[in-house]
């Protein structure tokens, strides 16, 4: 029996619509559940007070601080390294075996699962270098983990800068480095920023690599040698050990809001930069 192509077309359209609604619906439902279940437990007190009784009561202030510190510190290390590598690959060399090897290294780093970063950070920073479970061990581990993201997004952004802008800069007597810093990087900034924001997002939502390098102490981290519990780790422990579902949902909501805010800030900065001169 031969089916009429028009009928098939109609059928498929319906099927696709259904699946699209299903997929988007599941994802929207996830966000909704977190908002609805989390909102009643979130208050200023929850954000700014310390946890009591392992998090069964009280707030998550130390976890917020630990998360922010981890995110920002890993950026302090990863941004110059990542953007520098991207500049090197795009501006300072021609394609060669050397750049291919470096790209291979970056790709490989990108493919390594986070638990392997956790294993490595645990054996190398925590044990071999004697840093213990600390903010520093966590930061360095996350730095390596997010490095490929920053390199790749920055490289894309730098490659997209029109070559004639570089020629103009050179023709005005700029050196290579002056051209890179005053023309290329400002033009590539929106893309670079996206990469940076993606990386903060990864640092904020990572659990496996953080728990084995930064530990899970609930105290407020005050030095790089202190252990700390990021929001994602705190959420994991609350939820998994059934300490408090309410606090878990509350933490999840703050976590998702943080990621939302990071995204919004990224879009805002990007749009502002793009809008300013075009």
């Amino acid at each position: 029996m031969r089916l009429n192509p028009r009928w098939i077309n109609k059928l498929v359209t319906w099927a696709l619509t259904f699946q699209a609604v299903l997929a988007v619906g599941i994802l929207v439902a996830i966000i909704l559940v977190i908002f609805i279940k989390g909102a009643p437990h979130v208050s200023l007190g929850f954000i700014f007070s310390y946890p009591e009784d392992m998090g069964r009561h009280g707030g998550i202030f130390p976890s917020i601080v630990a998360t922010v510190l981890l995110g920002l510190l890993s950026l302090v290390f990863a941004t110059p390294l990542g953007v520098g590598t991207a500049i090197f690959l795009t501006e300072y060399t021609k394609e060669s075996t050397f750049t291919r090897i470096i790209r291979f290294g970056v790709e490989s780093l990108a493919g390594i699962p986070s638990i392997i970063y956790g294993l490595f950070g645990f054996i190398f920073f925590v044990i071999k270098l004697g840093m213990g479970w600390s903010l520093l061990s966590g930061t360095l581990t996350i730095t390596i983990m997010v490095l490929p993201t920053i390199i790749r997004t920055s490289e894309e952004a730098i490659k997209a800068v029109p070559n004639n802008l570089r020629m103009v800069s050179f023709s005005l007597g700029a050196t290579k480095w002056e051209t890179v810093t005053r023309v290329v990087i400002p033009s590539a900034m929106p893309g670079i920023l996206t990469g940076i924001m993606l990386s903060i997002g990864r640092a904020v939502s990572e659990t496996a690599a953080v728990i084995f390098t930064m530990g899970s102490s609930l105290r407020l981290p005050t030095s790089l040698a202190d252990s700390g519990r990021t929001m994602a780790v705190h959420f994991y422990i609350l939820a998994r050990e059934g300490i408090s579902l309410e606090k878990a949902y509350g933490t999840a909501l703050i976590l998702v809001m943080t990621i939302l805010i990071i995204n919004f800030v990224a879009y805002y900065l990007m749009n502002r930069m793009v809008a300013k001169y075009s």
Partner: protein
């Protein structure tokens, strides 16, 4: 004027070269330390007893991780079965059928969803999926089925976003040409658009697969972590990643080495997948 400039430029070039080399250095150090911790046990008990060993009791001298290797592949495959088809359908709908506004709104929304921590997916899996499976299908609920579902949902945003990009980059002329020859919309999509976007779609699947096989915490939460090779969809299981995370905190001596050996096997599998993926995608795009 000339000299100070050129010496500064040379300095900068060296510094940037060093930065670029740091990625290689990190890769090397990661491999070196994982291998240094993991390989001695391979030598001590023999690679066959680890890779093909069926019994995992590291405090009692059994280091077999074969069930976990099988389980890792099973849930990854399961995640693709759920996630890939749904995501591709969704991406196809959004690029070919949806309106401009939906598309504009969609991209950032998907990026946001891709940023939701995996533990949140795992937790919701425990709260909503596991009890449903236990209640209506039997078994403990912690199972291949629940793990595959959670991972499948988790990789949706990644796959949708990348395959959507691939579909959108198919030139409009292709579609117009096909429609002009009297093909229906679906025939156009199926015979023209999807094949043209093939390599991008494939890349999105591979990335999704990488995320699924590498996921740890969400899997620990919903998989049940039993050591047996699962024989039904409702059996609990333990993957390579969760094996490491479950026991790393406690392990000492050979037990810890065994976890690093698990890491070595995981690394080898991931590297192999990446190589195949790279080769495949490059070959396809080259044609």
């Amino acid at each position: 004027m000339g000299k100070p400039h050129s010496s500064r430029e040379t300095g900068i070039k060296w510094l940037l070269t060093l930065f670029a080399l740091s990625s290689l250095l990190f890769l090397f150090v990661i491999f070196a330390f994982i291998l240094a911790e993991g390989l001695p046990l391979f030598v001590k008990v023999g690679p066959g007893h680890i890779i093909f060993g069926m019994k995992w009791a590291p405090t009692k001298g059994h280091f077999g991780i074969f069930p976990m290797i099988v389980s890792s592949f099973m849930v990854t495959f399961g995640a693709l079965v759920f996630g890939a088809s749904l995501a591709l359908a969704c991406a196809t709908y959004l690029s070919e059928y949806a309106g401009r506004k939906t598309k504009l709104f969609l991209k950032p929304a998907l990026e946001l969803l891709a940023g939701i921590p995996s533990v949140v997916y795992g937790f919701l899996g425990v709260v909503y999926i596991v009890p449903l499976i236990r209640e209506y299908l039997g078994g403990p609920g912690f199972s291949i089925l629940s793990t595959s579902l959670v991972l499948g949902i988790m990789i949706l945003p990644t796959i949708i976003s990348i395959s959507f990009d691939a579909l959108m980059s198919v030139p409009a002329g292709y579609r117009e040409g096909s429609l002009a020859m009297g093909a229906t919309k679906w025939q156009t999509v199926y015979r023209v658009v999807l094949p043209a976007a093939r390599s991008g779609i494939l890349a999105s699947f591979i990335l999704g697969m990488g995320r699924a096989i590498g996921e740890t915490m969400a899997v620990i939460m919903v998989a049940g972590n039993a050591l047996k090779i699962p024989t039904s969809l409702l059996d609990p299981l333990r993957t390579l990643t969760s094996n490491i995370a479950l026991e790393l905190a406690y392990a000492t001596g050979d037990h810890r080495s065994a976890l690093f050996s698990t890491g070595v096997v995981l690394l080898v599998i991931i590297m192999f997948l990446n190589l195949v993926a790279n080769f495949w995608v490059k070959k396809r795009t080259a044609r």
